[in-house]
């Protein structure tokens, strides 16, 4: 018995030693093979088009010759362009702030109630996020309808004047932001609720003994503990909101008189409706800087946490 073992072990070890180098190489080969479809999809359908967009933006309308920064110079001279820049920033920043506020507040309310009831409430509160935005925006369009607005019906019954929801530029801007907040705040709610659950209860108890009120508990305990999640959720949402297309396209089509256009819808109008692909590409490229900044910040955040783990 012991003889067999003694004889077997060196054989096994030497066998492994002989096979080790090709085995490692085989492993790498298999690993690259498994990742190959992913690399192909990302290279062909994301990286290549993103770079191609830069090239397209430097061509003339018929895409025959190179005009350098001509498309950008053309855009800069248009008032509508600066309106779109302003509206995109106002839209994205205010929508993200309100989404974060609503999510933060509602997450605290859900967290306050007994655990067994939370599932039900959370389930109802997440519904706006589940419905395809194009479909729910249709419902909002109908709620804001100029002649049959259900909101105006309520206002009329309260004795208040009617509002031209989508006809007045300021109200139309308010409406697209409102719908975006409605669609997006459940995401913040879920993220903040998960973060709230990870705040140790002892901290709140210690604060309560020290006489902290609810605001102090939120300000000095919850906010610092949730800072990471708050930052990363806001950045994610800023990217998505900045690139938003569905809501503006369905609700206002950019109108009245281009007052609610954002980069995505205006680029669509140029490239698909107006058949001027280079101008559309140039417009859509203005979404890139904010993406780069957000990506940089998120990456730094991820790396930092990777170091802690």
């Amino acid at each position: 018995m012991s003889e067999v073992v003694a004889r077997d072990i060196p054989v096994a070890v030497s066998g492994a030693r002989v096979r080790r180098r090709p085995l490692v190489r085989r492993k790498t080969l298999v690993a690259v093979g498994f990742a190959l479809p992913l690399i192909a999809v990302i290279a062909a359908l994301v990286v290549y088009p993103a770079l191609y967009a830069i090239h397209l933006a430097t061509l003339n309308k018929s895409m025959q010759h190179f005009v350098g920064l001509g498309n950008f110079a053309f855009l800069f001279k248009r008032n509508t362009f600066w309106m779109v820049v302003e509206q995109s920033i106002v839209f994205a920043v205010s929508a993200v702030i309100f989404k974060a506020l609503v999510g933060f507040i509602v997450a605290h309310f859900v967290h306050n109630i007994p655990a067994r009831g939370q599932r039900k409430w959370r389930g109802m509160l997440l519904i706006p996020w589940v419905i395809p935005p194009a479909m729910s925006t249709l419902a909002w369009l109908w709620l804001f309808d100029p002649s049959y607005s259900a909101f105006n019906w309520i206002l009329a019954h309260l004795g208040l004047p009617e509002v031209a929801w989508l006809g007045n530029p300021y109200w139309a801007r308010f409406c697209v932001i409102l719908v975006n907040v409605w669609v997006g705040s459940p995401f913040f709610l879920i993220m903040y609720l998960a973060a709230l659950k990870s705040v140790p209860e002892q901290l709140h108890e210690a604060a309560a003994i020290d006489g902290a009120n609810w605001f102090q508990k939120i300000w000095y305990i919850n906010l610092p503990m949730m800072r990471n999640i708050i930052q990363i959720t806001a950045l994610f949402s800023l990217i998505v909101t900045f690139a938003n297309f569905d809501i503006v396209k369905i609700l206002t089509q950019g109108g009245p008189v281009d007052q609610t256009h954002v980069f995505a819808t205006w680029a669509f109008n140029w490239a698909i409706t107006g058949n001027d692909i280079p101008a559309g590409a140039a417009v859509s490229l203005f979404m890139a800087p904010i993406l780069a900044v957000a990506a940089f910040l998120i990456l730094r955040n991820v790396r930092k946490r990777g170091g802690e783990a």
Binding site: P37, L38, I42, L45, A53, M124, A134, I232, A267, S284
Partner: protein
Amino acid sequence: MTAATTVHGAPTRAASYGSIARSRRRTLYWSYFFLAVFVVFFLTPPLYMLVTSLKSSAEISAAANPWWVERPTLENYIALLTENQFLTFFKNSALIAVCVVAVTMAIAILAAYSLSRMGFWGSATLATGVFLTYLIPDSLLFIPLFKTFAWIHDVTGIELINHWWVLILLYPTLTVPFCTWIMIGYFASIPKELDEAALIDGASYFQVLTRVFIPVALPGIIAATIFAFTVSWANFLYPLAFTTSADQLVLPAGIVTTLIKGDVFNWGQIMTGALLGAAPPLIIYAFLMDYYISGLTAGATKG
């Protein structure tokens, strides 16, 4: 205990027990009150969809109470569900969703296994790259893709634009990076001992994946599958840009472009179509809410 201490909620020492309990109860009532307010805000549009979908066009144009149905009727549902066009949208959407989910999950699981466990030169950079591509939105990609597809048509004669199946090519730009990213997170949380034991027992890498990783990470796979399905069902920009003929459209874009004809809005049918278009994700959500939420939080927190 005075009334003042309960009102301010900052208990004095003498009265601490009773007033903490009371202030907790008050917090609870206020929480329920505000939750109810927010639920009303969050559920108004879907409920209004339902109310309108049950109305006849005569009742809608009568401008009576818009929030209530006098004579509920299913005529809008019958009209849409017996109409070939709407059923075509539904069929196109369902086929695309199934194909996109299958393709996405195959790519994402293989790649996540490779990147999270096997590793090769540059695999960490690639994982970060996957995450970065997830941040590139469809509204930046559709123009160059549109031009590229037109170019493919010019060179090879294969017409890609205005076919519903081209969306199977396009949606992975949105689903693959995210699903790979969350699968990397799930796979990384599996103890190394499990796959090492399987490898020592003589399993191949593919067997380790199918026999160990996929069963253990099944909740993550379900979450990623739900995400891929929801995204491919809900996307609006790609179909609007790439498909125009009525028989090639998918649900969200189809409803918006065909039911809104000029200035004539048949709101009863539009709301019915919107509700039916929202139904598949809602049904999945109703049954698999926990997976849905874990996928949502995994994307931003894992990594």
